[in-house]
Symmetry: C2
Subunit: 146 residues, 2 copies
């Protein structure tokens, strides 16, 4: 990358940041009826995929540390989405498990998001392309940040 391309990196970083914020705002519209934030929805997605995960496993998938997850999960526990209990095998680990509500709400939450997303009307091929490029960028950045 040449010096002259620093401006390009500046622009790409800002456009990522901007697009990310708008995308999340878009999702919040669908999530608001459930009293969920976007990061909380990400936790549900991970648990719907595989329930009963320790906190650090969620952190790896979402790239969050315990400093972010601990208070977030406590809020979700208070609202009845999930439970937090120490693993019997290893008392350092906190196992996160969906409540009945957390499990069964999946259908309704997905329905609400589908209604919003369906209006977007973007070519899925474009989505696929962006997704692939983002993953390449994420790989590069992760390597550079150790």
């Amino acid at each position: 990358m040449k010096d002259s391309d620093m401006t390009l990196a500046n622009q790409l970083c800002f456009s990522m940041y901007h697009a990310s914020r708008l995308f999340i705002k878009f999702y919040q519209q669908a999530l608001q009826p459930f009293g969920l934030t976007y990061p909380q929805y990400l936790v549900l997605l991970a648990l719907w995929e595989e329930d009963r995960q320790p906190l650090h496993a969620l952190g790896e998938q979402l790239d969050f540390g315990s400093n972010t997850l601990t208070p977030l999960l406590k809020r979700m526990e208070n609202k009845g989405w999930l439970t937090r209990e120490l693993a019997s095998s290893d008392h350092r680990q906190l196992i996160i498990q969906l409540t009945e509500t957390g499990r069964t709400s999946k259908t309704e939450i997905f329905k609400s998001i589908r209604v919003c997303v369906r209006q977007q009307d973007i070519d899925p091929a474009d989505y696929q392309g962006m997704l692939a490029q983002n993953h390449a960028l994420i790989d590069t950045l992760e390597k550079m940040l150790n």
Copy 2:
């Protein structure tokens, strides 16, 4: 967009979110020596482009409201990057102006960022493509959020 593509939107939103956070972390490495955060750097970029802008003009460029900018600009004022003064023509507007330090630091800050960015070693053409696609996505999302 079909129902089956909701998962794709989920993945794209998360990849944007993830890439944005990593990209910002990457920038913070270059900005840390100056005690600047990424949003603060964005304000400097806007002011280096055009000095003496009212708060709401900065807000439009960065998509920030006064609730975000007011405290951020006060922090930057305290650190000596800029000044905040009421416009004489319209006492509702707050004119933001770079200090001497704010103006002259541009060279050094750019140098620090260039050192980091140069290691990235990504094809500028890929950057250009992502940038264009992000702008298209931003347009779509902005339209859908009014």
